[in-house]
């Protein structure tokens, strides 16, 4: 605080609390109120937990951890039983516990999206998602988008267009593009750019990712 560059202190604005505007019912204002949750992973309470995981606590509160406890995760249309702690991220559960290493971790901070998975078919960063928060929801990983030994049309287009170099961002990139085509089967290049705008590729494969995804959109659809 002794820096000479410091500017003179501005008088801080007084803090005051306004009164509640009239006419708005405060309690439970959203109950039945046309909640706009289209296409979102509305996390409606943790289910699918084994009984012993849930200690008895006050109404509306379920206690977990810090010790490991058993859960079932629904991944790629299969049930997986595993032990997690509250701090276990979905990325760690997938990679370390279930050995599903197709999902990559680069930054582990939500910046690069190389850890992208679909949660109820919506793209999220598995490194910033607690595994516990995904119990009772559908998780789709890169391992789950191909059916009957057939790679997904987006993957096939990535191969045709040579849309990867080191490949580390590729699983996340593919998941973002798969999700885009599920929601918007006929995207423009701007739509593809937007869909992968959180996917960081240090090798600079973006132009080929755009071309591959637009090409995949012309192929017969395959939904995992």
């Amino acid at each position: 605080m002794s820096d000479p560059q410091r500017s003179p202190k501005e008088p801080p604005e007084a803090t005051s609390t306004a009164t509640t505007p009239p006419g708005i019912s405060r309690r439970g204002f959203l109950k039945g109120a046309g909640i706009t949750a289209a296409g979102t992973a509305l996390l409606s309470g943790v289910q699918g937990l084994s009984r012993e995981a849930v200690a008895s606590t006050p109404k509306g509160v379920k206690e977990f951890g810090p010790e490991p406890f058993p859960v079932t995760l629904h991944i790629n249309d299969k049930e997986h039983a595993l032990q997690i702690e509250p701090r276990t991220t979905l990325a760690d559960a997938l990679r370390i516990q279930l050995n599903m290493t197709g999902t990559k971790i680069s930054c582990d901070r939500g910046v690069c999206s190389s850890c992208t998975v679909l949660l109820d078919r919506m793209p999220v960063n598995s490194c910033m998602t607690l595994a516990l928060d995904t119990v009772g929801h559908q998780i789709t990983t890169i391992e789950g988008i191909s059916a009957n030994e057939q790679i997904h049309p987006v993957q096939a287009a990535f191969v045709r267009h040579d849309a990867m170099q080191c490949g580390f961002c590729t699983p996340g990139m593919v998941m973002s593009c798969v999700s885009l085509l599920e929601k918007n089967p006929h995207p423009t290049e701007a739509d593809v750019r937007y869909a992968v705008s959180g996917n960081l590729c240090r090798c600079g494969t973006y132009p080929k990712v755009f071309a591959a995804t637009l090409d995949a959109a012309t192929q017969p659809a395959s939904k995992a």
Binding site: P12, T20, T40, G65
Partner: protein, 333 residues
């Protein structure tokens, strides 16, 4: 990340009953897990409010709009009602962070995210905001820091949502077991570092942010937000502008010019607003407002570029709000 216990709550009442003994609230978790992974925060108990469905959703009321604190940024950005009447907010929520983060991050969490100063985010630096007497940014790396009103801590206001909500004259509803509900205007919600370096806002430890209320804009209102960063979507703003114009025919009756990345607390530029009030919106008046916004700027050793970036951001966003310019492809989103 340290080991912790987690209380998963399904109602506001349940969550409030758990708000004690240093337990920390987790909504989307994007900001909190970042701090825990860095090791600056080591709570031993989290209160998971993410599954409280009564705090999620957007409701139009005769007075305006009420948004549940747990509504995600993506939900706010994609809501047609928000987009048509509260464009500055859908813009801000649609440009904050990456598409995937916006699917996880909540509007309440966005308003409550802590400083992004890299010294603050590192466990190796104990600064003014962590109870010591020193700020490392003044003589250190400060290219992303504040250029005005910074007092003893030039880390900038990180929330894009707060810039838009300031422009809209919104308020937040805070709820506690002891005091029930109270409403605080966004303009009064955040604390300047010199007022209290150890607190960012006026919310008490036993309170939850439960909803956001936005008054209905006056007829003829147009608004927009744009964010300029170093990268397209992976990063916070270096300059941002939340603009609201109340138009009376071709004249601007009242203008709001809100900024985030200039100062530690979201601010309105009264000088820029005065340059627009009572005048038509033209490239000339928009440029004058952009210039006026830098009144009082005192850049640090590495961020004088912001003094040039802000006027451009404000100029272009005024014209965007007025419908005279397209969205800037070099802005994030």
């Amino acid at each position: 990340m340290n080991s912790f216990a987690l209380a998963d709550c399904s109602t506001v009442e349940a969550a409030l009953s758990q708000l004690k003994d240093g337990a920390v609230v987790k909504a989307g978790g994007v900001d909190l897990l970042d701090r825990m992974k860095n090791g600056t925060d080591t709570p031993t108990r989290l209160i998971n409010i993410r599954n409280i469905s009564e705090l999620r959703g957007i409701q139009s009321t005769p007075e305006g709009l009420t948004i549940g604190a747990l509504t995600t940024l993506a939900e706010v950005a994609d809501d047609p009602g928000v987009r048509s009447q509260y464009t500055v907010l859908s813009d801000a929520c649609g440009q904050a962070a990456t598409p995937h983060i916006r699917n996880m991050a909540t509007l309440g969490g966005n308003l409550l995210q802590q400083l992004q100063c890299w010294y603050y985010r590192s466990p190796d630096f104990q600064c003014l905001r962590k109870g010591k007497e020193i700020c490392f940014a003044f003589s250190g790396l400060n290219q992303y820091h504040a250029i005005m009103d910074y007092g003893g801590c030039p880390s900038v206001a990180p929330s894009s949502g707060a810039v838009a909500l300031l422009a809209l004259d919104a308020s937040v509803e805070l709820t506690s077991t002891a005091k029930g509900k109270r409403t605080v205007a966004i303009r009064d919600f955040y604390l300047h570092p010199d007022a209290n370096p150890h607190r960012f806002h006026v919310m008490a430890a036993d309170e939850l942010l439960t909803s956001i209320h936005i008054p209905k804009p006056a007829p003829g209102t147009r608004s927009a937000y744009q964010k300029y960063g170093e990268k397209e979507s992976h990063d916070w703003a270096n300059a941002d502008a939340g603009i609201l114009l109340e138009m009376d025919g071709s004249l601007c009756r009242r203008a709001v010019v809100a900024m985030g990345a200039a100062s530690p607390v979201v601010r309105r530029s009264r000088e820029a607003e005065a340059a627009l009030a009572g005048k038509p919106i033209t490239p000339e008046t928009a440029r004058a407002a952009g210039q006026a916004s830098m009144t009082g700027a005192m850049p640090l050793s590495m961020n004088a570029y912001k003094v040039q970036l802000f006027p451009v951001a404000i100029y272009r966003t005024i014209l965007l709000a007025a419908g005279q310019m397209d969205r800037d492809p070099s802005a994030a989103g």
